[in-house]
């Protein structure tokens, strides 16, 4: 899909579309910051539109190709043809601005030395003098030592590192092995101070780099067959991934689940809610959680539903996140009591049609809870076969209203003649005055 895997930055210097001076870049920056940033990110890091500061160009990377891309846009994907809005010269400024922000590797190539073992220090193995079994161009502009290969091998990555501005950078690494890695910038080997941590090795190395192009070389001999390899450059809070592992990690990891036309029911690990909880989002931006262990409505929040990114990337170690504060959350919230005591609950199922509805047996009698949203309120419709006196605990932060019962001391007591079907409106308590 990458049409141009040869990156043409150097080339650009020769065929720059506008007089390439700081003024042009500054003018381009202004335009960029008024229209393009919304989709391509404030720092060109990408968003709904592609990342524009790396050296990979899907639609062509020569200045004239980039200019053409911007002129014609991608109307079906939301990027309008900007030739209808700006003059050609203005757009040339934007191209100059984008190109001035390029960073990372270009022309990265690799050499593989099969069956090379880590039996001598890497300096003594002299990779640069050996004849590789294989070599080629890396498809992505990131250091990659995990090419599919024989199990153990030596690898060299070399290319040009484009630095966006001069200054002191912090080169950081997380590795599976503590030796047999060597990096050279402009031919000079870096003295890495590699530390062992529990499962891995790390280093942080300060390095002065001038804006512009630097020769870069990585030499590595695999000790472990599978090897994590995170290398990045850091400056003033900005990180520049250098290895493929670091790049993948740097990708936007949010996956926000939203309900647009109908309720969405979701089971995931969610921060602040117990395991096995089931969460429901309504298009009205009312979100609710129910605990199948106790038939309790155990969470309520408004706005965005959940970002499940942390729970579905990588191994899924982390909990999905709720970005707005809970009105209430925990093991229980709105809990059904039978004759004022907690009932034995057996969860049966939920159905999504025609409404979101949860089915239980409570003290061996069927109970279902149907949920809908009305404006900012959550409407719960209970249907019970019980002939006993039912009541609902009212958690902090909300009021419960019902035509079928009365609230006394944080308990909504249901008139037993309505056990078959009673409806409760749950509304956020106004705080303050």
């Amino acid at each position: 899909m990458i049409k141009n895997s040869i990156f043409l930055l150097g080339f650009w210097l020769l065929v720059s579309v506008n007089a390439n001076n700081d003024e042009s870049i500054q003018r381009g920056k202004k335009i960029y910051e008024t229209v393009c940033f919304a989709c391509h990110g404030k720092n060109l890091e990408g968003g709904s539109g592609f990342n524009l500061r790396d050296t990979v160009w899907v639609h062509g990377g020569t200045p004239s190709e980039i200019l053409k891309t911007i002129k014609k846009g991608f109307p079906e994907k939301g990027m309008i043809p900007f030739e209808t809005v700006f003059k050609e010269n203005d757009l040339k400024d934007v191209v100059n601005f984008i190109l001035s922000r390029q960073q990372g590797f270009k022309n990265l190539s690799y050499k593989i030395f099969q069956n090379l073992r880590a039996d001598k220090p890497i300096e003594d193995l002299g990779l640069s003098k050996l004849k590789p079994e294989k070599s080629g161009v890396l498809k992505l502009p990131y250091l990659d030592i995990n090419l599919p290969e024989v199990d153990w091998f030596g690898i060299q990555n070399s290319g040009i590192l484009v630095i966006p501005e001069s200054g002191e950078y912090l080169l950081k690494g997380i590795l599976r092995q503590g030796s047999h890695i060597q990096m050279l910038i402009d031919g000079k080997p870096l003295k890495l101070d590699i530390q062992k941590e529990k499962w891995q090795y790390t280093f942080e190395h300060k390095v002065e780099l001038k804006k512009g192009e630097h020769d870069f070389e990585l030499n590595y001999v695999k000790i472990h067959k599978k090897a994590s390899f995170h290398i990045e450059l850091e400056k003033d809070g900005m990180t520049m991934p250098l290895s493929k592992g670091a790049f993948i990690k740097s990708q936007n990891r949010q996956i926000v689940i939203a309900s647009t036309t109908k309720p969405v029911i979701l089971r995931k690990r969610i921060d602040g809610l117990p395991s096995k909880t089931i969460a429901v989002a309504f298009p009205e931006k009312v979100n609710v959680a129910i605990n199948p262990r106790n038939a309790s409505i155990n969470g309520l929040w408004y706005g965005e539903f959940v970002d499940i990114g942390p729970n579905v990337f990588g191994r899924g170690r982390l909990a999905s996140l709720v970005k707005t504060p809970y009105i209430f959350s925990g093991d229980e919230g709105i809990t059904v009591l039978e004759n004022t005591s907690k009932a034995e609950v057996d969860y049966l199922e939920y159905s999504t049609y025609p409404q979101a509805r949860f089915h239980f047996k409570v003290n061996d009698k069927k109970l279902s809870i149907e949920m809908t949203a009305l404006g900012e309120s959550l409407i719960l419709t209970y249907r019970s076969e019980s002939k006993q006196k039912l009541s609902l605990q009212v958690p902090e932060g909300v009021t419960l209203e019902s035509l079928h019962g009365q609230t006394v001391n944080n308990t909504l007591i249901i008139d037993p003649k309505h056990n078959e079907k009673f409806t409760v409106k749950v509304t956020k308590k106004e705080t303050g005055k």
Binding site: I2, V56, V58, L140, L147, R267, K268, S351
Partner: protein
């Protein structure tokens, strides 16, 4: 964002080993959907159902994908029933999905069971996708990992609730624990007699990955789950690995780490009656790390299964996790590379292997005899070459350490090599010993037309002599 596409479109040249006559076809999955296949089944009409790790169930009907269910918590097993309902094992429960209004989308998510503990630990997978001969649904519960509040003697741990156990549930929801001692039992399958097998992944108390025969009340070696039996934490802490060793049931096969597999998925029985080539009535198993397939042939000795492992093919686009044969005898391969790296250019996907009738030159089977082995080939051998092979034997440690190197590796002598009249069956005598892997290297063997085998090695796990 664009790298996502770029990453996906990388073409990686793998040194793919593929036996003659087999080809891989890539099935297009719904655009923009994270299609990590962790559960898969095919109904009688040939519709393919995939559960994705993201939490959806998708149905492929007449070459079109439709989302059947969503919002599940990492489902890791799926089976379709005759009535069209779908049973999935998701982390917090085993669930039946029913499309009651017949609009093509499930609208009832019925709990079959959640009588096991789930404590929000990322490693607490719930695997499934099989039914036993009595119609019960069978599942296996992964242990947890990195949880300071949990009990464990080694890396993988439990907070109780039958983690590390296998269970069954009747269609009406009756829950029963079958067995204990499981670690990371990522795939279930059954043979034609309905015996249920599962794979377990290399790690603590699992020297190398294994295929095991799941039997009631057996203990398979990882002690963490014993906390749910009649053992206290103190008792378990006082026990030695040699004590657990006496209690444990041996595997059907040890699957050599690196050579064959690092993270095996579900065993799928070849019931295609030859439509998938000459390996009927053997298991095919995918490996998530090597993005490969391998075979296991079984030999029943008394009531115990043991058998032989053969590599089959490599070169899949992503980790091969779930396998299913369709009615045409093609093998569908559901793939994921998420979390645990896999070879191949893609992070997920679906592929299909089919056989065009060309007979490959392969070992068809290896069986133990009273005093040696019998190796059956798919084609005639060149008489000249029949003694040109080597045998080694080794074993694996059983300890709380993470995985075991190959131990006690030694060359094994053989004698009385004999080729059958049809030139396809080789027999030879070998000094046999139990609880060992016998590894055969037939790379120098030649077929009658001078060809070498594509897959040159076989690994027989000898638990019991005949």
């Amino acid at each position: 964002m664009k790298y996502l596409f770029a990453l996906l479109s990388l073409i990686v040249s793998l040194t793919a080993a593929t036996p003659d006559g087999y080809k891989i076809e890539t099935i297009e999955t719904p655009e923009g959907v994270r299609f990590h296949v962790t559960g898969m089944d095919i109904d009688k009409q040939g519709n393919v159902y995939c559960a994705t790790r993201f939490g959806d169930v998708w149905k492929l009907q007449n070459k079109r994908w439709q989302k059947f269910a969503e919002g599940l918590h990492e489902p890791c097993g799926l089976l379709v029933e005759e009535d069209g309902s779908v049973v999935v094992t998701q982390k917090p429960e085993m669930t039946r999905l029913i499309d009651s209004n017949k609009d093509g989308v499930a609208d009832r998510y019925i709990e079959l069971t959640s009588e096991f503990g789930f404590h929000n630990n990322y490693h607490e997978f719930n695997f499934g996708g099989v039914k036993d001969n009595e119609g019960n649904y069978v599942g296996t519960l992964n242990l947890g990992h990195e949880d300071s509040k949990a009990f464990g003697l080694s890396l993988m741990v439990t907070r109780g609730g039958y983690r590390g156990c296998a269970y069954k549930v009747s269609p009406s929801g009756e829950f029963k624990i079958i067995a204990s001692g499981l670690r990371s039992p990522a795939g279930l399958g059954k043979n034609s007699s309905g015996d249920i097998f599962y794979t377990d992944n290399q790690g603590d108390y699992v020297g190398t990955s294994m295929l095991l025969h799941l039997r009631e009340n057996h203990f398979y070696g990882h002690p963490a789950s014993l906390i749910d039996k009649d053992f206290t934490a103190e008792k378990l802490k006082s026990m030695k690995d040699t004590d657990f060793d006496k209690m444990r049931t041996r595997p059907v096969v040890w699957i050599p780490h690196n050579e064959i597999a690092q993270s095996p998925g579900n065993p799928e029985w070849d019931n295609t009656a030859g439509k998938f080539g000459p390996f009927s009535n053997q298991f095919f198993i995918g490996d998530q790390s090597r993005s490969s397939l391998f075979r296991v042939s079984l030999q029943k000795i008394g009531d115990t299964y043991q058998g032989c492992v053969f590599d089959f093919m490599t070169g899949f686009q992503s980790g091969a996790m779930r396998l299913r044969f369709d009615a045409e005898g093609s093998l569908w391969v559901g793939e994921t590379g998420r979390g645990w790296l896999s070879r191949g250019a893609k992070m997920y996907g679906l592929q299909k292997v089919s056989w065009d009738g060309t007979l490959p030159f392969e070992m068809q089977d290896v069986k133990l005899t009273k005093d040696g082995f019998k190796v059956t080939f798919t084609k005639e051998l060149d008489q000249e070459s029949i003694s040109n092979f080597t045998i080694k034997s080794w074993h694996y440690d059983y300890t709380r350490n993470y995985g075991s190197p190959v131990r006690g590796i030694q060359p094994v002598s053989f004698s009385d090599v004999n080729l059958s009249e049809d030139k396809k069956v080789l027999t030879f005598k070998v000094p046999l010993s139990e609880e060992k892997v016998f590894s055969f290297d037939f790379s120098q063997l030649k077929s009658l037309v001078g060809k070498n085998l594509i897959n040159k090695h076989a690994y027989y796990t000898l638990i019991k002599k005949l």
